[in-house]
Protein backbone atom coordinates (compact mmCIF):
# COMPACT_ATOMS: atom_id res chain seq x y z
CA UNK A 1 0.00 0.00 0.00
CA UNK A 2 2.90 2.32 0.86
CA UNK A 3 4.69 1.68 -2.45
CA UNK A 4 1.48 2.06 -4.47
CA UNK A 5 0.75 5.27 -2.55
CA UNK A 6 4.17 6.75 -3.32
CA UNK A 7 3.70 5.86 -6.99
CA UNK A 8 0.32 7.65 -6.97
CA UNK A 9 1.98 10.66 -5.32
CA UNK A 10 4.40 10.91 -8.25
CA UNK A 11 1.46 10.72 -10.65
CA UNK A 12 -0.29 13.60 -8.83
CA UNK A 13 2.65 15.91 -9.56
CA UNK A 14 2.41 15.14 -13.30
CA UNK A 15 -1.38 15.62 -13.28
CA UNK A 16 -1.11 18.90 -11.35
CA UNK A 17 1.52 20.30 -13.74
CA UNK A 18 -0.82 19.68 -16.68
CA UNK A 19 -3.89 21.05 -14.87
CA UNK A 20 -2.06 24.26 -14.00
CA UNK A 21 -1.77 24.88 -17.77
CA UNK A 22 -5.56 25.46 -17.69
CA UNK A 23 -4.78 28.87 -16.19
CA UNK A 24 -2.39 29.82 -19.03
CA UNK A 25 -3.83 32.68 -21.05
CA UNK A 26 -3.48 30.98 -24.43
CA UNK A 27 -6.97 29.65 -25.14
CA UNK A 28 -6.01 26.17 -23.96
CA UNK A 29 -3.17 25.61 -26.46
CA UNK A 30 -0.57 24.44 -23.92
CA UNK A 31 -3.11 22.34 -22.00
CA UNK A 32 -4.38 20.64 -25.16
CA UNK A 33 -0.82 19.94 -26.35
CA UNK A 34 0.03 18.35 -22.98
CA UNK A 35 -3.22 16.35 -22.94
CA UNK A 36 -2.68 15.04 -26.46
CA UNK A 37 0.93 14.10 -25.57
CA UNK A 38 -0.42 12.10 -22.61
CA UNK A 39 -3.05 10.47 -24.82
CA UNK A 40 -0.68 9.42 -27.61
CA UNK A 41 2.79 8.78 -26.10
CA UNK A 42 3.30 4.98 -25.93
CA UNK A 43 5.24 5.17 -22.64
CA UNK A 44 2.39 7.12 -21.05
CA UNK A 45 -0.10 4.56 -22.37
CA UNK A 46 1.85 1.78 -20.60
CA UNK A 47 2.21 3.94 -17.47
CA UNK A 48 -1.59 4.39 -17.46
CA UNK A 49 -2.05 0.64 -16.98
CA UNK A 50 0.41 0.76 -14.05
CA UNK A 51 -1.51 3.76 -12.71
CA UNK A 52 -4.84 1.92 -12.73
CA UNK A 53 -3.07 -1.01 -11.07
CA UNK A 54 -1.59 1.35 -8.47
CA UNK A 55 -5.01 2.82 -7.66
CA UNK A 56 -6.55 -0.63 -7.42
CA UNK A 57 -3.83 -2.03 -5.13
CA UNK A 58 -3.85 1.08 -2.91
CA UNK A 59 -7.65 1.06 -2.55
CA UNK A 60 -8.07 -2.68 -2.07
CA UNK A 61 -5.29 -2.87 0.51
CA UNK A 62 -6.56 0.29 2.22
CA UNK A 63 -10.12 -0.96 2.55
CA UNK A 64 -8.98 -4.50 3.45
CA UNK A 65 -6.61 -3.31 6.18
CA UNK A 66 -9.20 -0.87 7.58
CA UNK A 67 -11.81 -3.62 7.70
CA UNK A 68 -9.41 -5.99 9.50
CA UNK A 69 -8.43 -3.20 11.88
CA UNK A 70 -12.05 -2.56 12.81
CA UNK A 71 -12.60 -6.28 13.38
CA UNK A 72 -9.64 -6.44 15.76
CA UNK A 73 -11.59 -4.38 18.32
CA UNK A 74 -15.06 -5.98 18.36
CA UNK A 75 -16.15 -4.14 21.55
CA UNK A 76 -15.46 -0.39 21.32
CA UNK A 77 -14.57 1.95 24.17
CA UNK A 78 -17.40 3.90 25.81
CA UNK A 79 -15.22 6.98 26.28
CA UNK A 80 -13.83 8.73 23.20
CA UNK A 81 -10.07 8.27 22.77
CA UNK A 82 -7.97 11.16 24.03
CA UNK A 83 -4.66 9.70 22.87
CA UNK A 84 -2.51 12.07 20.90
CA UNK A 85 -2.08 10.91 17.29
CA UNK A 86 -0.40 12.10 14.10
CA UNK A 87 -2.80 14.69 12.53
CA UNK A 88 -5.64 13.09 10.51
CA UNK A 89 -3.95 9.66 10.74
CA UNK A 90 -7.09 8.16 12.28
CA UNK A 91 -9.13 9.24 9.28
CA UNK A 92 -7.06 7.91 6.37
CA UNK A 93 -9.81 5.60 5.16
CA UNK A 94 -12.40 8.40 5.45
CA UNK A 95 -10.31 10.95 3.55
CA UNK A 96 -9.44 8.15 1.09
CA UNK A 97 -13.15 7.48 0.47
CA UNK A 98 -13.75 11.21 -0.22
CA UNK A 99 -10.90 11.16 -2.76
CA UNK A 100 -12.37 7.96 -4.24
CA UNK A 101 -15.78 9.63 -4.69
CA UNK A 102 -14.04 12.44 -6.56
CA UNK A 103 -12.17 9.87 -8.63
CA UNK A 104 -15.47 8.26 -9.70
CA UNK A 105 -16.89 11.66 -10.73
CA UNK A 106 -13.65 12.47 -12.52
CA UNK A 107 -13.75 9.15 -14.34
CA UNK A 108 -17.32 9.75 -15.54
CA UNK A 109 -16.55 13.34 -16.54
CA UNK A 110 -13.38 12.64 -18.49
CA UNK A 111 -12.31 9.03 -18.98
CA UNK A 112 -15.76 7.64 -19.79
CA UNK A 113 -16.35 10.48 -22.24
CA UNK A 114 -12.93 9.92 -23.80
CA UNK A 115 -13.49 6.24 -24.42
CA UNK A 116 -17.06 6.90 -25.62
CA UNK A 117 -18.99 5.29 -22.75
CA UNK A 118 -20.71 8.57 -21.84
CA UNK A 119 -21.90 11.10 -24.42
CA UNK A 120 -20.06 14.46 -24.20
CA UNK A 121 -22.10 17.66 -23.55
CA UNK A 122 -23.53 19.31 -26.66
CA UNK A 123 -20.95 21.14 -28.73
CA UNK A 124 -17.90 19.52 -27.13
CA UNK A 125 -15.81 16.94 -28.93
CA UNK A 126 -15.00 13.91 -26.73
CA UNK A 127 -11.23 14.49 -26.87
CA UNK A 128 -11.54 18.22 -26.13
CA UNK A 129 -10.56 18.16 -22.42
CA UNK A 130 -9.96 21.89 -22.32
CA UNK A 131 -13.56 22.87 -23.22
CA UNK A 132 -14.86 20.14 -20.91
CA UNK A 133 -12.75 21.49 -18.01
CA UNK A 134 -13.87 25.07 -18.72
CA UNK A 135 -17.51 24.00 -18.68
CA UNK A 136 -17.12 22.04 -15.42
CA UNK A 137 -15.21 24.76 -13.57
CA UNK A 138 -17.73 27.40 -14.64
CA UNK A 139 -20.26 25.43 -12.55
CA UNK A 140 -19.81 26.72 -8.98
CA UNK A 141 -21.23 23.51 -7.48
CA UNK A 142 -18.65 21.38 -9.29
CA UNK A 143 -15.86 23.78 -8.34
CA UNK A 144 -16.97 23.62 -4.72
CA UNK A 145 -16.94 19.78 -4.68
CA UNK A 146 -13.55 19.82 -6.40
CA UNK A 147 -12.18 22.22 -3.81
CA UNK A 148 -13.43 20.19 -0.82
CA UNK A 149 -12.20 16.87 -2.25
CA UNK A 150 -8.71 18.24 -2.80
CA UNK A 151 -8.65 19.74 0.67
CA UNK A 152 -9.20 16.21 2.02
CA UNK A 153 -6.61 14.85 -0.41
CA UNK A 154 -4.20 17.30 1.24
CA UNK A 155 -5.00 15.91 4.71
CA UNK A 156 -4.57 12.39 3.32
CA UNK A 157 -1.19 13.20 1.74
CA UNK A 158 0.13 15.05 4.79
CA UNK A 159 0.05 11.83 6.82
CA UNK A 160 0.52 9.42 3.93
CA UNK A 161 3.97 10.33 2.62
CA UNK A 162 5.82 10.21 5.94
CA UNK A 163 3.81 7.11 6.97
CA UNK A 164 4.89 5.34 3.76
CA UNK A 165 8.55 5.95 4.66
CA UNK A 166 7.95 4.67 8.20
CA UNK A 167 6.20 1.55 6.86
CA UNK A 168 9.18 0.83 4.60
CA UNK A 169 11.44 1.07 7.63
CA UNK A 170 12.90 4.51 6.96
CA UNK A 171 12.98 6.22 10.33
CA UNK A 172 16.10 8.07 11.33
CA UNK A 173 16.95 10.45 14.15
CA UNK A 174 18.14 13.08 11.63
CA UNK A 175 16.05 12.48 8.52
CA UNK A 176 12.56 11.68 9.86
CA UNK A 177 11.98 15.34 10.77
CA UNK A 178 12.99 16.32 7.23
CA UNK A 179 10.74 13.63 5.71
CA UNK A 180 7.80 14.87 7.84
CA UNK A 181 8.42 18.48 6.77
CA UNK A 182 8.71 17.48 3.10
CA UNK A 183 5.54 15.39 3.44
CA UNK A 184 3.59 18.41 4.68
CA UNK A 185 5.17 20.67 2.03
CA UNK A 186 4.25 18.20 -0.71
CA UNK A 187 0.65 17.98 0.60
CA UNK A 188 0.30 21.78 0.73
CA UNK A 189 1.78 22.26 -2.76
CA UNK A 190 -0.24 19.49 -4.44
CA UNK A 191 -3.58 20.12 -2.71
CA UNK A 192 -3.00 23.90 -2.86
CA UNK A 193 -2.10 23.66 -6.55
CA UNK A 194 -5.26 21.77 -7.46
CA UNK A 195 -7.42 24.04 -5.27
CA UNK A 196 -5.97 27.15 -6.94
CA UNK A 197 -7.67 26.19 -10.22
CA UNK A 198 -11.35 26.41 -9.09
CA UNK A 199 -10.43 29.54 -7.07
CA UNK A 200 -9.00 31.11 -10.18
CA UNK A 201 -12.14 30.18 -12.15
CA UNK A 202 -14.57 31.48 -9.54
CA UNK A 203 -12.83 34.64 -8.32
CA UNK A 204 -10.12 35.76 -10.71
CA UNK A 205 -11.22 34.84 -14.18
Amino acid sequence: MALAGLFLSAFLVVHLSINLLLMADDGGKAFTAAASFMATNPFIRIAEVALFGGFLIHMLFGVGVSFRNRMSRPVRYQHKSRSETSPMSRYMVHTGIIVFIFLVLHFIDFYCIKIGLVAPPAGIERHDFYSRSMLLFSDKGYSGIYLICFLFLGFHLNHAIQAAFQTMGLNHSKYTMIIKALSTTYAVIVAGGFITIPFWFIFLR
Partner: protein, 257 residues
Protein backbone atom coordinates in the same frame (compact mmCIF):
# COMPACT_ATOMS: atom_id res chain seq x y z
CA UNK B 1 -11.67 14.86 46.98
CA UNK B 2 -14.93 13.47 45.57
CA UNK B 3 -15.34 11.60 42.30
CA UNK B 4 -18.05 10.02 40.18
CA UNK B 5 -16.74 6.79 38.71
CA UNK B 6 -18.17 5.07 35.64
CA UNK B 7 -16.60 1.63 35.81
CA UNK B 8 -16.96 -1.25 33.35
CA UNK B 9 -18.51 -4.19 35.21
CA UNK B 10 -18.64 -7.60 33.56
CA UNK B 11 -19.28 -10.83 35.50
CA UNK B 12 -17.31 -13.09 33.18
CA UNK B 13 -16.09 -13.46 29.59
CA UNK B 14 -19.57 -14.46 28.38
CA UNK B 15 -21.40 -11.57 30.11
CA UNK B 16 -22.26 -8.50 28.00
CA UNK B 17 -21.16 -6.07 30.70
CA UNK B 18 -21.75 -2.33 31.01
CA UNK B 19 -20.75 0.85 32.78
CA UNK B 20 -21.87 1.18 36.42
CA UNK B 21 -21.80 4.54 38.21
CA UNK B 22 -20.30 4.85 41.72
CA UNK B 23 -19.50 7.86 43.85
CA UNK B 24 -16.53 8.01 46.20
CA UNK B 25 -15.78 10.75 48.71
CA UNK B 26 -13.09 11.78 51.17
CA UNK B 27 -10.29 10.65 48.85
CA UNK B 28 -6.82 12.03 49.60
CA UNK B 29 -5.25 13.90 46.69
CA UNK B 30 -2.07 11.96 47.42
CA UNK B 31 -3.66 8.54 47.25
CA UNK B 32 -2.91 6.49 44.17
CA UNK B 33 -5.59 5.56 41.65
CA UNK B 34 -5.51 2.00 42.95
CA UNK B 35 -5.81 3.15 46.58
CA UNK B 36 -8.93 5.05 45.51
CA UNK B 37 -10.26 1.84 43.89
CA UNK B 38 -9.31 -0.07 47.07
CA UNK B 39 -11.45 2.42 49.05
CA UNK B 40 -14.33 1.90 46.63
CA UNK B 41 -13.97 -1.88 46.99
CA UNK B 42 -14.04 -1.61 50.81
CA UNK B 43 -17.33 0.27 50.49
CA UNK B 44 -18.73 -2.38 48.11
CA UNK B 45 -17.60 -5.25 50.35
CA UNK B 46 -19.21 -3.47 53.33
CA UNK B 47 -22.49 -3.36 51.41
CA UNK B 48 -22.16 -7.05 50.48
CA UNK B 49 -21.58 -6.26 46.82
CA UNK B 50 -19.00 -7.78 44.46
CA UNK B 51 -15.81 -5.65 44.51
CA UNK B 52 -14.37 -4.32 41.23
CA UNK B 53 -11.72 -6.68 39.80
CA UNK B 54 -8.58 -5.08 38.39
CA UNK B 55 -5.01 -6.22 37.66
CA UNK B 56 -2.10 -4.97 39.77
CA UNK B 57 1.12 -6.32 41.20
CA UNK B 58 4.26 -4.25 41.87
CA UNK B 59 2.48 -0.87 42.17
CA UNK B 60 5.73 0.86 41.21
CA UNK B 61 5.55 0.89 37.42
CA UNK B 62 7.89 -1.94 36.54
CA UNK B 63 5.89 -5.17 36.24
CA UNK B 64 3.41 -4.34 33.47
CA UNK B 65 0.50 -5.99 35.26
CA UNK B 66 -1.76 -2.99 35.69
CA UNK B 67 -3.91 -1.72 32.88
CA UNK B 68 -7.09 0.45 32.91
CA UNK B 69 -8.28 2.75 30.16
CA UNK B 70 -9.00 5.96 32.07
CA UNK B 71 -10.96 8.82 30.45
CA UNK B 72 -9.98 7.71 26.95
CA UNK B 73 -6.31 7.06 27.67
CA UNK B 74 -4.49 3.88 28.70
CA UNK B 75 -2.87 4.33 32.15
CA UNK B 76 -4.66 7.68 32.51
CA UNK B 77 -3.69 11.28 31.80
CA UNK B 78 0.01 11.27 32.79
CA UNK B 79 2.73 10.71 30.21
CA UNK B 80 5.27 7.92 30.68
CA UNK B 81 3.61 6.34 33.72
CA UNK B 82 1.56 3.25 34.48
CA UNK B 83 -1.84 3.30 36.22
CA UNK B 84 -0.21 2.33 39.52
CA UNK B 85 1.93 5.49 39.36
CA UNK B 86 -1.12 7.71 38.85
CA UNK B 87 -2.37 9.79 41.78
CA UNK B 88 -5.74 11.40 42.37
CA UNK B 89 -4.15 14.87 42.31
CA UNK B 90 -4.04 14.42 38.52
CA UNK B 91 -7.84 14.76 38.47
CA UNK B 92 -10.17 17.67 39.29
CA UNK B 93 -12.27 17.47 42.43
CA UNK B 94 -15.75 16.30 41.45
CA UNK B 95 -14.58 14.94 38.10
CA UNK B 96 -16.37 12.04 36.41
CA UNK B 97 -13.83 9.32 35.62
CA UNK B 98 -14.47 6.58 33.05
CA UNK B 99 -12.59 3.34 33.79
CA UNK B 100 -12.62 0.63 31.13
CA UNK B 101 -10.60 -2.50 30.37
CA UNK B 102 -8.12 -2.69 27.44
CA UNK B 103 -10.20 -3.28 24.30
CA UNK B 104 -8.90 -5.72 21.71
CA UNK B 105 -10.30 -8.96 20.29
CA UNK B 106 -7.01 -10.67 21.20
CA UNK B 107 -7.36 -9.45 24.82
CA UNK B 108 -10.73 -10.91 25.96
CA UNK B 109 -12.19 -9.53 29.19
CA UNK B 110 -12.00 -12.10 32.01
CA UNK B 111 -13.88 -10.07 34.62
CA UNK B 112 -14.61 -6.34 35.04
CA UNK B 113 -11.33 -4.55 34.23
CA UNK B 114 -9.13 -7.64 33.87
CA UNK B 115 -8.22 -8.83 30.39
CA UNK B 116 -6.36 -11.93 29.28
CA UNK B 117 -3.06 -10.73 27.81
CA UNK B 118 -1.64 -14.20 27.16
CA UNK B 119 -1.65 -13.33 23.43
CA UNK B 120 1.57 -11.41 24.24
CA UNK B 121 3.06 -14.59 25.74
CA UNK B 122 2.24 -16.47 22.52
CA UNK B 123 4.08 -13.80 20.51
CA UNK B 124 7.13 -14.14 22.77
CA UNK B 125 6.94 -17.94 22.51
CA UNK B 126 7.04 -17.58 18.72
CA UNK B 127 10.53 -16.08 18.77
CA UNK B 128 11.14 -13.47 21.47
CA UNK B 129 14.13 -15.30 22.92
CA UNK B 130 17.66 -16.53 22.19
CA UNK B 131 17.57 -20.29 21.58
CA UNK B 132 20.90 -21.19 23.17
CA UNK B 133 22.05 -20.53 26.70
CA UNK B 134 24.21 -17.46 26.15
CA UNK B 135 25.93 -17.97 29.52
CA UNK B 136 26.56 -15.63 32.40
CA UNK B 137 27.68 -12.02 32.19
CA UNK B 138 30.76 -11.97 29.92
CA UNK B 139 33.84 -9.86 30.77
CA UNK B 140 33.40 -6.29 29.61
CA UNK B 141 34.28 -5.89 25.93
CA UNK B 142 34.69 -9.63 25.28
CA UNK B 143 31.90 -9.17 22.77
CA UNK B 144 32.04 -5.74 21.17
CA UNK B 145 28.66 -3.95 21.30
CA UNK B 146 28.55 -0.40 19.91
CA UNK B 147 27.32 2.03 22.60
CA UNK B 148 24.44 3.39 20.45
CA UNK B 149 23.24 -0.20 19.90
CA UNK B 150 23.48 -0.99 23.59
CA UNK B 151 21.49 2.17 24.43
CA UNK B 152 18.82 1.52 21.77
CA UNK B 153 18.53 -2.13 22.84
CA UNK B 154 18.18 -1.09 26.47
CA UNK B 155 15.49 1.48 25.59
CA UNK B 156 13.55 -1.18 23.66
CA UNK B 157 14.02 -3.73 26.45
CA UNK B 158 12.31 -1.29 28.84
CA UNK B 159 8.99 -2.55 27.41
CA UNK B 160 7.03 -4.11 30.29
CA UNK B 161 4.46 -5.75 28.01
CA UNK B 162 1.49 -3.99 29.62
CA UNK B 163 -0.45 -3.67 26.35
CA UNK B 164 -1.07 0.11 26.49
CA UNK B 165 0.10 0.26 22.85
CA UNK B 166 -2.70 -2.11 21.83
CA UNK B 167 -5.24 -0.29 24.03
CA UNK B 168 -4.43 3.14 22.58
CA UNK B 169 -4.07 2.10 18.93
CA UNK B 170 -7.18 2.92 16.86
CA UNK B 171 -6.52 -0.44 15.14
CA UNK B 172 -5.76 -2.46 18.32
CA UNK B 173 -2.37 -3.25 16.83
CA UNK B 174 0.43 -4.85 18.86
CA UNK B 175 3.12 -3.54 16.52
CA UNK B 176 4.97 -1.42 19.10
CA UNK B 177 5.18 -4.35 21.54
CA UNK B 178 6.52 -6.74 18.88
CA UNK B 179 8.85 -4.05 17.51
CA UNK B 180 10.32 -3.46 20.98
CA UNK B 181 11.02 -7.17 21.46
CA UNK B 182 12.42 -7.61 17.93
CA UNK B 183 14.58 -4.50 18.31
CA UNK B 184 16.10 -5.25 21.68
CA UNK B 185 17.26 -8.68 20.50
CA UNK B 186 18.24 -7.69 16.94
CA UNK B 187 20.52 -4.92 18.19
CA UNK B 188 22.68 -7.25 20.29
CA UNK B 189 25.13 -9.91 18.99
CA UNK B 190 23.49 -12.82 20.84
CA UNK B 191 20.06 -11.98 19.41
CA UNK B 192 21.25 -11.00 15.94
CA UNK B 193 21.90 -14.63 15.00
CA UNK B 194 18.21 -15.59 14.86
CA UNK B 195 17.01 -12.13 13.77
CA UNK B 196 15.45 -13.12 10.44
CA UNK B 197 13.51 -16.11 11.73
CA UNK B 198 12.44 -14.24 14.87
CA UNK B 199 10.87 -11.27 13.09
CA UNK B 200 9.00 -13.49 10.65
CA UNK B 201 7.61 -15.77 13.35
CA UNK B 202 6.67 -12.97 15.75
CA UNK B 203 4.90 -10.90 13.08
CA UNK B 204 3.07 -13.96 11.74
CA UNK B 205 1.90 -14.85 15.26
CA UNK B 206 0.79 -11.27 15.94
CA UNK B 207 -1.29 -11.28 12.73
CA UNK B 208 -2.66 -14.75 13.44
CA UNK B 209 -3.85 -13.74 16.93
CA UNK B 210 -6.11 -11.06 15.47
CA UNK B 211 -4.33 -7.83 16.38
CA UNK B 212 -4.85 -4.97 13.91
CA UNK B 213 -2.31 -3.50 11.52
CA UNK B 214 -0.16 -0.46 12.12
CA UNK B 215 -1.39 2.64 10.29
CA UNK B 216 1.26 4.93 11.80
CA UNK B 217 -1.03 7.00 14.01
CA UNK B 218 1.71 6.90 16.70
CA UNK B 219 -0.86 6.77 19.52
CA UNK B 220 1.21 3.86 20.94
CA UNK B 221 4.31 6.02 21.28
CA UNK B 222 2.30 8.78 22.97
CA UNK B 223 0.81 6.36 25.52
CA UNK B 224 3.64 3.90 26.19
CA UNK B 225 4.49 4.14 29.92
CA UNK B 226 8.10 3.29 29.06
CA UNK B 227 8.18 5.79 26.16
CA UNK B 228 9.22 3.21 23.55
CA UNK B 229 9.52 5.06 20.25
CA UNK B 230 8.08 4.19 16.84
CA UNK B 231 11.65 4.14 15.49
CA UNK B 232 11.53 0.54 16.78
CA UNK B 233 8.57 -0.13 14.47
CA UNK B 234 10.58 1.12 11.49
CA UNK B 235 13.46 -1.14 12.59
CA UNK B 236 11.09 -4.12 12.78
CA UNK B 237 9.69 -3.25 9.32
CA UNK B 238 13.26 -3.15 7.93
CA UNK B 239 14.04 -6.47 9.59
CA UNK B 240 10.81 -7.98 8.29
CA UNK B 241 11.26 -6.75 4.71
CA UNK B 242 14.88 -7.94 4.66
CA UNK B 243 13.89 -11.33 6.10
CA UNK B 244 11.07 -11.75 3.58
CA UNK B 245 12.98 -10.55 0.54
CA UNK B 246 16.61 -11.50 1.07
CA UNK B 247 16.88 -14.31 3.62
CA UNK B 248 18.23 -17.59 2.24
CA UNK B 249 15.93 -20.57 2.30
CA UNK B 250 16.46 -22.52 5.53
CA UNK B 251 17.94 -25.99 5.04
CA UNK B 252 15.62 -28.76 6.17
CA UNK B 253 17.81 -31.06 8.23
CA UNK B 254 16.48 -34.31 9.63
CA UNK B 255 18.05 -35.69 12.78
CA UNK B 256 18.21 -39.31 13.79
CA UNK B 257 19.41 -40.46 17.17
Amino acid sequence: MNFTLKIWRQKNAADKGGLVTYTVGDISADSSFFEMLDQLNQLLIGKGEDPVSFDHDCREGICGTCSLYINGRPHGPLKGTTTCQLHMRSFRNGETIFVEPWRCGAFPVIKDLIVDRSAFDKIIQAGGYVSINSGGIPDANTIAVPKPNADAAFDAAACIGCGACVASCPNASATLFVAAKVSHLALLPQGRVEGERRVRKMVETMDHLGFGNCSNTYACEAECPKEITVANIARMNREFLAAKLFADKEKQVSFSL
